[in-house]
């Protein structure tokens, strides 16, 4: 099996040496956030810590955790560790309520991101000479631009088509001879189905780099069989960087976390670190970010880590597939959605009592989200037009606050199921 490796020095570094490298980077980042980010300085002071107390990775458990809510509380720029004039790009993902969570990148951060995404492309044997169709969304979402910079870095020809418009995707894939596709796995399945339906053949396509939502080995098999490609798993999240935090090599035995840049931990329910092999909350400390470094960021993605040697030659630990969430976050077509965002969006619409239920389905291989809302007597009208306007304004509010398109369905008061007085907010009917 061929294994292209972008940066063998770093990616195949002996683990003891890698550990010493991490020790030094951790000391540096702790000092930087202590000096430049009041949020972390206060947290460390509360714990009676100074940067000098952190000698290396062995001291990681002394440091405070960071939660998504902390990003929200410090909206928009208060977690930046450099003057905003040093920030050359921001991305944002939807926050848990209302405001998005913002991340800022220095030009050095953008450069490192491209490097890590380049490593990830090489993991899938994608490099110069390849034609890479980036069907992740471009914009505040990190997927499109993250993939784009990495593909450019390895010297591939990039087709920045962004998400959606299946017919156009297929046309360009055929006409250009796309060799690598980057999108969510569910969209890949959707494209595969459209190809079968329309008799489109893409013999040049050799691999797909899929991420931004959880998927399974059986989905991998399905995609690989239909498209005759290697379907590769990539992982990332905007808070930590974006796509390219970790990536599967051709061995397809877990995703290598680029440990010279991110220090992973698996945290158990008692907030203590768990050993390799045990499942828990994946947590990252960024080791090289300047714009917005984070200490022990809780992703709330459930998975395991292993440091067993990999046949590809890389020494960096591998994470298993994401097995679930430790919170109520949903991933709809790659977009993170919290029920609390939907609730917040409903409250913005006049007269709406947030008695609601979110029903998620996978129809024709695409996620759909229906928000069922009980119609309060105050919003009752004798005309269909008024009620349809109400549905539209609810959908618009959800789109604005949760960044996802939802179908809104009005329901009779009292019709949505309630359990023990508390409504059952989410019904996820997707079978992965």
């Amino acid at each position: 099996m061929k294994h292209m490796i972008w940066n063998p020095t770093m990616e195949c570094m002996p683990r003891e040496q890698l550990r010493a490298f991490q020790d030094s980077r951790l000391r540096d980042i702790v000092r930087r956030v202590y000096e430049n980010v009041p949020f972390y300085r206060h947290k460390m002071q509360e714990l009676g810590l100074t940067p000098g107390d952190i000698h290396g990775v062995d001291d990681i458990e002394l440091l405070p955790f960071t939660e998504k809510q902390d990003l929200r509380d410090n909206y928009p720029f208060s977690l930046f560790a450099v003057p905003t004039s040093e920030i050359v790009r921001v991305h944002a993902s939807s926050g848990t309520t209302g405001k998005p969570t913002v991340v800022g990148y220095t030009s050095g951060d953008i450069d490192r991101w491209a490097e890590l995404m380049a490593r990830s492309m090489y993991c899938a044997n994608v490099g110069k000479g390849d034609i890479v169709q980036v069907a992740y969304g471009y914009g505040l979402f990190t997927g499109g631009l993250g993939a784009h910079y990495g593909a450019e870095r390895v010297g591939a020809m990039v087709v920045p088509i962004s998400g959606g418009n299946t017919t156009r995707q297929l046309m360009l894939m055929q006409d250009f001879g796309t060799t690598a596709l980057m999108c969510t796995p569910s969209y890949a399945l959707n494209l595969a189905e459209a190809m079968e339906r329309e008799g489109v053949k893409v013999p040049k396509l050799k691999c797909g780099i899929f991420g931004a939502e959880p998927w399974t080995e059986s989905m991998r098999k399905q995609i690989e069989e239909v498209l005759h490609i290697d379907a590769m798993n990539v992982y990332g999240l905007s808070e930590v960087m974006g796509p390219g935090v970790s990536m599967e090599c051709m061995c397809k035995q877990g995703m290598h976390i680029w440990e010279d840049h991110f220090l992973p931990e698996i945290i158990g329910p008692d907030n203590k670190g768990l050993p390799y092999g045990q499942q828990g909350d994946l947590t990252f400390t960024t080791l090289s970010k300047h714009g917005m470094p984070l200490l022990r960021y809780r992703t709330h993605d459930l998975c395991t880590l292993t440091d067993k040697p990999c046949d590809c030659g890389r020494t960096h630990v591998r994470m298993g597939r994401i097995m679930g969430r430790t919170d109520d976050m949903l991933i709809i077509r790659g977009v993170n959605v919290f029920p609390s965002q939907v609730e917040h969006a409903l409250l913005q619409v006049k007269g709406i009592v947030p008695q609601y239920q979110i029903v998620v389905e996978r129809k024709n291989l695409l996620d759909t989200m229906e928000v069922q809302v009980e119609l309060s007597p105050d919003n009752m009208s004798d005309t269909v037009r008024d009620l349809e306007t109400l549905e539209r304004s609810i959908a618009n509010s959800i789109a604005a606050h949760a960044l996802v398109h939802a179908k809104v369905k009005l329901c009779q008061p009292g019709s949505l199921p309630r359990s023990e007085g508390k409504a059952k907010r989410v019904v996820d009917n997707r079978k992965l």
């Binding site: 005309t383 269909v384 009779q412 008061p413």
Partner: protein, 143 residues
């Protein structure tokens, strides 16, 4: 010169309408007129009953979203073109028509049509000046 229409929100699922009519029937209400506007997901049932206040209270108590709206109950001669004359009078005066439906019973030799317009007061004035007869809520009790 209005009558009170009751509108009720119903989900588009089987048993929805049966449940509603049963509710009214059990409380001895006589549905004098009924119409449903529906979409894929829901329907708005509009009806006329004599004691609308009691109906509203009972339906609200039963958990329905209810709205009471002023509508015109227009008495139209039972011959071709009669309705057209009424509607022309409204449109000539820039009164917008939201919807209309017919009454179950006749008013003497006239048909009764329920009309919902965007400017109810103006519509009453226009139709009265045209000599069109309209019924009040009290008149309904007598039918």
């Amino acid at each position: 010169m209005f009558v009170k229409q009751i509108s009720v929100f119903l989900e588009n699922k089987s048993g929805s309408l049966a449940g509603f009519t049963k509710q009214l029937g059990e409380h001895g209400f006589d549905l004098m007129s009924l119409s449903i506007a529906d979409t894929t997901d829901f329907g708005i049932l509009r009806c006329i009953v004599a004691d609308y206040e009691r109906a509203k209270a009972i339906l609200t108590e039963a958990g329905y979203s209810v709205k009471v709206t002023d509508v015109l109950a227009v008495s139209v001669a039972d011959h071709p073109g009669a309705l057209a004359e009424v509607l022309s009078a409204l449109s000539n005066n820039d009164i917008g028509l939201e919807y209309l439906y017919s009454f179950f019973r006749n008013h003497g030799d006239h048909a009764l049509i329920i009309i919902r317009v965007d400017q109810p007061e103006k519509a009453v004035n226009v139709l009265e000046s045209e000599g069109v007869k309209m019924l009040s809520q009290e008149d309904l009790q007598a039918i």
